[in-house]
């Protein structure tokens, strides 16, 4: 028996390698400087590593798309697009966490390596060319998050968030794995492109496909069961209704920095994986799964927006709002077209800008020992902090989808892709529920501008970096709303593998 040495295309996974080294370096640095004063270098080391990694990803933009490491990961513009998005989210999370953890006087150094490793998990999910890599990415992300969710000096809430997320998350992982096993059993391969070829999809980047069954001889019943289980497993990570029950509790209990990370980064990663799996492996079965996903999307949008109406805690409200936005993103996958995939990428960027901005304001307004997350805490904010109030209002309008913000343009692209694919009713349901969502977003604006402050609050030192994030996000929300062309062009180029 002889083997050929596998070709090691290190450059293709260079952004991930840099992140691995960053995670290990912060781990070692934390051992060397274990005191609290040593935390700032850890934060900067993480940001620096993420910047180098992002720089490499940008430099790879014109590299030819290819599969690497025995067809396990794909190095293409889709991967690079999401890599850069995830790295921006990670850097912003570091800034949030640095402020918040220092304020809480609880600053374990493990936070930074765990964050770096969970970012690698997200990149793997977007880069996966094989269902096994999807599974490993999901698990790497989730296992780090189980710990990060429980990070706090306060014991009860974060602890319960952690155990709830852990039990339900591992439960969903088991479903994801069973789905992968059934897909493997019915097609003889776990490579996404090879599954697609066995189902008669036109080729794209396809590897060797040893062992895959011949085109047309797939055990269909088992395959459909496997697809259903994949929807359960990935839908859980994306917080789709009816697999969303963990999300509001975890979002409320976790530190605000991690809530922001999860509601933006993890969600985008789950949709990147969903898009890869469904549009590379199962495009020929779109008539079978798109109706199922359309129903899930409708239920998700309606449930998220309806329950958000009754929330008094802003983190919980943003949690339900992020469920509703998962519904909008799923509409883009239902369309199963190139335009739909591009609109998903655009919406992911826009959603990152508006949601990270909103969470930045939540972080800035919190203080040591009390997070101040009741919506009534925002009463009269326009009198005390006019700039913060204006930014928060911008983010609320954007989340509600009011022009000329990115929220409006993103919804426009997503819903028009659905209409082009023949899902007019789905687009109408999305429009109706997003009109209803304006009520709870604008309630925050109403509190800030129309209600007098209920107490005199001592002014506190502004958080430079977090305020900077909020300002940049505010500009991005408007700029992308007025000039969406650039990002749309990039998103279209990144999804050229979708036919």
């Amino acid at each position: 028996m002889t083997f050929a040495l596998p070709a090691l295309d290190w450059w293709a996974i260079a952004p991930m390698l840099v992140l691995v080294l960053t995670g290990c370096a912060t781990l070692v640095a934390e051992l060397v400087r274990g005191d609290d004063a040593g935390r700032a270098p850890l934060a900067w080391l993480t940001v620096a590593g993420a910047s180098v990694s992002g720089g490499i990803a940008l430099g790879q933009w014109d590299d030819p798309a290819r599969l690497a490491f025995s067809d396990m990961v794909s190095s293409d513009r889709f991967t690079l697009f999401f890599t850069v998005l995830f790295l921006v989210v990670t850097c912003v999370t570091v800034l949030f966490a640095f402020e918040q953890l220092r304020r809480e006087d609880f600053h374990p150094g493990e936070f930074y390596p765990l964050l770096a490793f969970s970012t690698i998990g997200m990149v793997l999910m977007a880069a996966a060319a094989d269902l096994v890599i999807t599974f490993i990415g999901v698990e790497l992300l989730s296992i780090c998050l189980y710990i990060l969710v429980g990070f706090s000096r306060r014991r009860r809430e974060p602890e319960e968030s952690a155990i709830k997320y852990l039990l339900l998350g591992s439960f969903a992982s088991a479903f994801l794995l069973y789905g992968i096993a059934l897909v493997y059993g019915s097609t003889g391969t776990t490579s996404l492109a090879c599954v697609g070829r066995a189902l008669g999809a036109p080729g794209g980047l396809v590897g060797a496909c040893e062992g895959a069954v011949a085109t047309g001889s797939v055990a269909t019943g088992m395959l459909l069961a496997g697809i259903g289980l994949l929807v359960v497993g990935l839908g859980f990570k994306a917080a789709l209704v009816p697999f969303h029950s963990w999300a509001p509790d975890v979002y409320e209990g976790a530190p605000t920095a991690i809530t922001a990370f999860m509601s933006v980064g993890v969600k985008a990663a789950a949709f990147a994986a969903l898009l890869r799996v469904f549009l590379v492996a199962f495009p020929t079965l779109a008539p079978d799964w798109s109706v199922l996903l359309a129903v899930v999307a409708t239920v998700t949008m309606v449930t998220g927006n309806t329950v958000a109406l009754f929330q008094r805690n802003i983190k919980r409200m943003l949690g339900y709002s992020s469920i509703a936005h998962a519904g909008y993103l799923l509409v883009a996958i239902v369309a199963a077209s190139h335009a739909g995939a591009a609109s998903l990428l655009f919406y992911a960027v826009g959603y990152a800008a508006m949601n990270l901005g909103a969470f930045a304001i939540v972080v800035v307004l919190g203080r040591a020992g009390e997070e101040r997350v009741a919506i009534s805490d925002y009463a009269g904010l326009s009198q005390r902090q006019p700039l913060l109030a204006a930014l928060m209002a911008t983010f609320m309008f954007a989340l509600a989808g009011v022009p000329p913000t990115v929220g409006f343009v993103g919804k426009f692209y997503v819903f028009s892709a659905a209409v082009d694919a023949g899902y007019v009713w789905l687009a109408l349901a999305g429009l109706a529920s997003s009109v209803a969502s304006a009520y709870y977003y604008l309630r925050v604006v109403y509190q800030m501008y129309m209600v007098d402050p209920k107490e005199v609050v001592a002014s506190h030192s502004p958080h430079r970096w977090v305020s900077l994030v909020a300002t940049v996000a505010g500009f991005a929300v408007i700029a992308l709303g007025v000039f969406p062309g650039g990002i749309i062009g990039v998103a279209t180029a990144s999804t050229s593998f979708v036919r």
Binding site: M1, T2, F3, L5, C24, L27, V28, L31
Partner: protein
Amino acid sequence: MAFDFVPILIQALVAIIIAVGVIVIAHLIGSRNPTPAKLAPYECGMSPVGQAWRRFPIKFFLTAMLFVLFDIEVIFFVPWAAVLRHLRAGGSEYVLFALGEMAVFVGFLALGYVYILKKRALEWEA
């Protein structure tokens, strides 16, 4: 189909018969001379005190968890060892490749080991 498991069934029956038989025969022909020491459960020479279901020091859990992690990681040595013999036939380039791969893997494990040592997770008297 149904006959596939007949041997297993027979084996299970034999096992049950032997187990039950030994107990019954011991009861029938054994002599009985109970003393308190003989009636006490055997516990390695220690006097049995309290219930078995009690709280263990948290240290047991910590060590056990770390053991599980490192124990399972060794699973990746098995396929590596299985192909190493074939790789040797390919010449020094192949052997270097195999050693390099394992060096990276062991390097990450060693980093984890150094980490838990430095964090004093393995010191019993903390």
